[in-house]
Amino acid sequence: MIGVIDYGLGNIRAFSNIYKSFDIPHRIITQKHELSGIEKIILPGVGAFDDAMKKFNTSGMRNTVEKMVFENKIPILGVCVGLQMLGNSSDEGVEEGLGWIDANVKILDTEKVSHSTKLPHMGWNTINIINKEELLFNGIHDKKRFYFLHSYYFDCNHEEDILTLTNYGFNFASSAKKGNIYGVQFHPEKSLENGEKLLFNFAKI
């Protein structure tokens, strides 16, 4: 049973539609007791870092999720701002991040971006898969495209936590993983077939 956390931000419906089309059992979680029996967690997120952290912290679900992730090793997938929340902090705001992956969120370095619309990084861009054996990307070829929409990126302090790199003026981590904790900067719920495959893979991990 997949649990999609609805703490007020993110396209919850889109995740639900995809899992529904695969007939994969899933539940939208708005309260902590609904987390009972959940085997995998999706943590969506859009908008500003501080707003997301505040909403998640006051949702009443944070502690239970943290327990599930660290004590029961339940796999969790952070999406977009959901990935950024997994880090220590963000230059975008003042709130503390979850600190579950050692990384800091910084503004994208667009010095080498030649066109005039530097930020946000918006549109379909390619991912370069570092570890081709990684199950999250099973069946997804290298250099496939996903939809991005962000101005900040997840700056991992440990190279081994980086799953994929994407180029936008420079190479940044478009996805990361530490043990059972995963995060993607792009929007798999809106990345057509590639995104559907990734979400499917996550369900099967």
Partner: protein, 258 residues
């Protein structure tokens, strides 16, 4: 490398999909849901869907239709038409839509922009400006209510005024070129491009893949929107949903992008 977005533009009128010319004479082209489904299967980059009746009639958004459309889209969807407050925007996001577009609401009450941006983030707030060349000078006017109301506002000045208030994207829609399939209006595109570094999408006039290519050549990263091009085929403007396949799209972008 980031690619420009090629975006079909769908208009809804009386529950049906229509195409207009200069924003007039809506011609029925079919069921919106079927079109969305087909575009989804064709893996389009993004989709813009606008209800052209809503602001004119002062109706609430058709939530039932929006929900059905959102269910079929596995790519970003921008919905617009008749959105005048943050409550409506929130409901539309809840139904699975990523971006909402506002036009007359932003012009009449620019403070709605930060209001909506605050609840979901500026990336989701798209401002659509329907523009028409002035008769006697080189400038442009913004029109609202489906091209029927002249606001007397200059698009460049208006963009300068609102660009830092929580806008995620600007869509420029040329009333003059709408449905003509004779090419984009590059003057207004250039004017707006010089004014703001916000993401931009343009609509109105695309008649061939080369038109999209030329837009990409001049702007690199931009949203190349098209209505008639992706809905009609051939000299009789036969209704047939079409969109370049992956190979054709990559070829187009790689040929034209500098």
């Amino acid at each position: 490398m980031l690619h420009p977005r090629i975006i079909p533009n769908l208009l809804i009128h009386k529950k049906g999909l229509v195409k207009t010319v200069n924003f007039k004479n809506p011609k029925y082209v079919g069921d919106p849901l079927n079109a969305v489904k087909i575009f989804n299967e064709k893996s389009v980059d993004e989709l813009i869907v606008t209800d052209i009746d809503a602001s004119v009639k002062g109706d609430e958004p058709d939530y039932e239709l929006i929900e059905k459309i959102a269910m079929e889209c596995r790519m970003p969807l921008c919905y617009g038409g008749g959105i005048t407050n943050a409550k409506q925007a929130k409901e539309i996001f809840r139904l699975g839509v990523e971006k909402i577009s506002i036009s007359s609401a932003a012009i009449n009450n620019p403070s709605i922009i930060p209001e909506i941006a605050e609840s979901v983030g500026s990336q989701s707030v798209v401002i659509v400006l329907d523009v028409k060349k002035k008769f006697f000078s080189n400038g442009y006017d913004i029109f609202t209510h489906n091209g029927t109301k002249k606001t007397g506002l200059d698009p460049v000045k208006f963009i300068r005024k609102i660009q830092n208030t929580g806008v995620g994207e600007i869509v420029i829609n040329s009333i003059d070129q709408d449905g003509s399939m004779k090419g984009y209006d590059y003057k207004i595109i250039d004017d707006v491009r010089k004014t703001t570094s916000l993401p931009m999408t343009v609509l109105g006039g695309a008649g061939s893949l080369d038109d999209l290519g030329n837009l990409i050549k001049k702007n690199s990263i931009i949203g190349a929107g098209a209505g008639s091009l992706f809905v009609f085929k051939g000299k009789y403007r036969a209704v047939l949903i079409n969109y370049p396949n992956q190979k054709e799209k990559i070829e187009l972008i790689e040929t034209f992008m500098v």
